[in-house]
Each structure stands twice: as C-alpha cells, then as structure tokens.
Symmetry: C2
Subunit: 300 residues, 2 copies
C-alpha cells in the first residue's frame, strides 16, 4: 500500500482493515455500539466486507438488499441477491429483502424506460429508488443509522465529478456522515470512505467472502468509471493523491471553506403526503411523482 | 475548435480571437480604454499575442520584460529578451526592461541556490521576484492595470492543483482580476483566461508573431505541466471540459460558494519599510527579506 508506505502480511492486513474502519467511525462520529445499524448490501465486495467488519467490531447491524430487477443478459440482480443471501445465512444475520418489481410493479429498467427521468439509462431512477427504499425500511424498522459501502474510490470519483463542474450544492453535502437533519430522514454514514477499492478487494478475497464480481451492466460507460480511471492513473504516478484529495476536501469543509448560505436543500421542510419522507416542495416527492407518472402513462 | 463546435478560416479566426478577448475584458470588468496598461511579456506566444491583441483592440499598453538570468545551456533568458525586444521595436511599442541580476546583484538561479526558499528549484523565488518587480514598475510609472498572458490551460492547471489539495486560500483568490484592494498593490488582470493554449499558438502563428518556443528549462518536471497533460487527456475525451471546469468555478465563486471569512490574506495591511509594497506582517516583506538573507550569507 504505497499510499500508506505500508506492507502487511495476511494476518496483519485482516486486523488493519477493521482498525482503519473503526478509526473512521470514531473520527467522523458515525455511530456507537448503542445504535441499531442497517447496512445496504448489493452483493458486491464493499458492502459485504463492511457488514463482515461491523460484525467483527461487535456492532449490531442487519442488512438490506434491494432487488432492482436488472437482468441485462447476465442475471445481474438474481446473482447478486444469491451472494447477499448466502452471506447472511452462513453467518446467521438478518437480511431484509425488498423487491422493487414486487412492491412497486416494475423493475428499475422498466421504470427508467417509462419516465423522462431515465432517458433509457436507469442510473438516475435507480439511485432515487434506492435512497427512497433504504430510508423507508430504516424508518419502519427503527434503525438509527443507515450504512452504505462507498469506498474511497467511489467518494473521490464523486468529488472529482462534482468539482469538475463546481456543483456547489453537491460539494457542501458530500460527507462521510449525512445527518438526519430533516423530519423523516434517517442518518447515513459511509464507514469505508477512507479505504481504497484495492484494499477492500484484497480484504474480501483474504476473508473468503464470496461476492458478485461484475459491475452493474448499466454502469459500464458511466462517467464515474471514467473518473475512477483518471484518479487511478494519478494515483499510480503520485501514490496517495486520491486519499489526499478526499481528506483535504473534508478538512477544508470542516474549516469553513464553503459558505453555508448557498445550501439549496436548507428548505427541504415539506413532507410527502404519500410516503411521509421529506421533500423540497409541497405535494408528492419525486419518487412518488414518478409512480403517478407511470400510472397515468399506463391508463392512457 | 471542438470545445466551441466551431471551425474558422484564417481571416475569421484572427478576428474571432480579439473578439473573445474583448468579451472577457468586458465580462470581468478588467479595464477600459482610459486605463494605462502594462503587459508582462516573457517572449512567449501568450504574452506577445496578448500585447498584439491589445494594440488591435485600441488599448494603450506598454510592455515589461523581466530578465531572470536563466541560461541552462540554452540561453533561455537572452533569447526570450530578443523576441520581446524585436516585437516591440517592429511595432514601435514601449518596452520596460528590468534585469534582475543588474538591479539586485544575482540571477534567479543564483538567488534560488542561496535561499532556503528555492531548494535548488528556482520556480518559487522566480514567481516571488516577478510579482514584486511587476508591481514595482507598474506603481513607479503610474500604470493602472498590470496584465499577464495566462491562458485557460494555465488557469485550469493552477485550479486543478489547488483543488486536488483543497487549498482554500488559493481557491478564493484565483480570479481573472485581482483587485488593488491593498495600499501599494496594482490591479492585475488575465485577459486570455478563457483562451485555450492551442488557440493562442494558432493565433501567434497566423499573425506571424515570432516567439520563444522553448518552455523555461526549470519548468520541465513541474506539476503544472503534469496537470496540463491530464487536463488535455480529459479534453480530448470530452471536448470543453477544461473551459467548463474553469468557468463553472468562476460562476460558483461569484454565486458565493466560498465563505469570505476564511481569507487569510485579509489582514495584509502592513507596508514593507524597504520597498513600500504590502505585506502580511510588520517589518520587511518576503522579497526584501530574501535579499537581507543573501547579504548576511555573503558577509558570513
């Protein structure tokens, strides 16, 4: 691990990773042993490793798998559910499973095809649906913190994209912890935000965690993957640049670089009459509006 | 010019460039036809083209060449002075020439070797000396605005570097115009800040401007050149990304993204007793301290 000027054997590496995660949990005040945690698991290496690490660190954490109905010729959702379910069963862990098609009538690709939001690329609809469902399940079951497996490469790529376009409102909200600062919102945290993707792949491999190795088929041409490639090129030229980019951003933010007055979400004070989650304008939230659109579309 | 979805013939291109520069001058309120302008010329394509464009646009602009005493086996400073002097003579323009060695006793590489600031790489000392001398000559001769030939590639690379490290104090001060907001400081502007380097090279070529083609020999391994390479790679994948990065930054800043309270230069209120230029602490400014150090060094 050139970025840390560190090389470890298997045993020490498998101890080092949870130590690093525990440090991030503590540094960013993510949660404590008194919290009831819900981990969003996709069946991939990051989320399953996160769940594994939380068990090893003695936290109480259940899982949530959201079935997106993505097939794309490779049975993507069916296979990833299998990995998540096997992981939970082998370890006797509680896994909530929400199937989007069963609950809302359509798969994510179908939803995307039917709405303007998708433009035949389902990533935007998918993100919206996942955020909505994660928050709903966490609230319904009284979890106090919702965790996702975003690693440093994910966070750095998002930051890079937001920075290349100077999206102020996204920059001021990118954080290892998203506070539950609106009624109906559950606190969110990303305990792997300082872990390199390579480190997490090595961890999953060495811990014998079986996970889905394919990326989501729709992500292949995504800008996020393009930015990850660029950041990896920079990282190989200057080890540590990725971590420094992300950490110096968090420090600058903590030290008051950004003006709080530009927060466009500050007035997110309405409640959706359909689902009870917070929304920026009176009336239905974006998620519920999407289904009204679909119902109208089906009727006509 | 894929970034503008535009292709022009020679005649139209040579009209288009000054139009674009005039737009930037006006958009960022850089200066008017009543201002007395001083252009810092290095002998390179950007600063000589800027001087040429200012003449064509009818502005009153003299030149300033600063002799740095850089030889590096290629007569860099001697050759670049020749290009600047020939340009001025052919067009009957006024060129101030300041020779660092003649005025201060040492060349830039010698200064760098003698001070801790240089660490045997003279770029930091060189930047400091140029800023000092430019401001001094502008004040002594009552110029109202000091211009430099920084193009979009220069500005985007500086921004990229400052952003990768989230240097808040540099980010809030990067601007097409630096106001003369401290006693003793002359207003500065960068009229080429929206022009791609390729566009300026084409302009110089098509206008028949003779300029020094070599980069400064000390700049070869600079991080700025590394970042320019990365940005060029991104630009060829996504035309316009460089311009968008810079312009979205300026817009976000104008819209109040950054908190003014973090400005560390706000208390730059002292005056150097030696040179009369503003400085952050009581006593000699950094430039004058550098010479005191040298004198002490020579004495001991």
């Amino acid at each position: 691990m050139r970025q840390h000027k560190l090389a470890l054997c298997k045993t020490h590496f498998l101890d080092w990773v949870p130590e690093q995660v525990e440090r991030a949990i503590s540094k960013y005040n993510m949660f404590t042993h008194q919290d009831q945690l819900l981990v969003a698991v996709s069946g991939g290496k990051d989320s399953l490793s996160l769940w594994d690490i939380l068990q090893r660190l003695g936290y109480s954490a259940d899982g949530l798998y959201i079935g997106l109905g993505i097939d794309a010729g490779v049975n993507y959702s069916i296979n990833s559910l299998e990995y998540a379910r096997n992981f939970a069963q082998e370890r006797n862990l509680m896994l909530h499973i929400v199937d989007i098609q069963a609950e809302y009538g359509e798969t994510i690709p179908e939803l995307a095809m039917r709405t303007n939001r998708g433009h035949y690329k389902p990533c935007s609809v998918c993100g919206l649906a996942k955020r909505h469902v994660m928050n709903r399940i966490a609230r319904q079951n009284n979890y106090t913190v919702l965790l996702t497996g975003h690693n440093l490469d994910d966070e750095a790529a998002i930051l890079f994209s937001n920075t290349l376009n100077w999206l102020g409102n996204y920059l001021i909200h990118q954080s290892p912890v998203l506070e539950a600062d609106k009624p109906g919102l559950v606190r969110k945290a990303k305990p792997l935000c300082r872990m390199y993707e390579r480190e997490m792949a090595a961890y999953a491999l060495l811990r014998g965690i079986h996970y889905i190795q394919e990326e989501c088929p729709f992500a292949e041409d995504s800008t996020s993957i393009y930015y990850k490639g660029l950041l990896n090129k920079m990282e190989s030229d200057k080890p540590g640049v990725k971590l420094n980019f992300y950490l110096s951003f968090l420090r600058a933010k903590r030290d008051g670089l950004f003006s709080p007055s530009i927060d466009e979400n500050a007035e997110l004070l309405h409640t959706c009459p359909e689902c009870g989650q917070p929304t920026s304008a009176p009336g239905l939230c974006v998620f519920c509006r999407m289904f009204i659109q679909i119902e109208n579309h089906v009727e006509t």
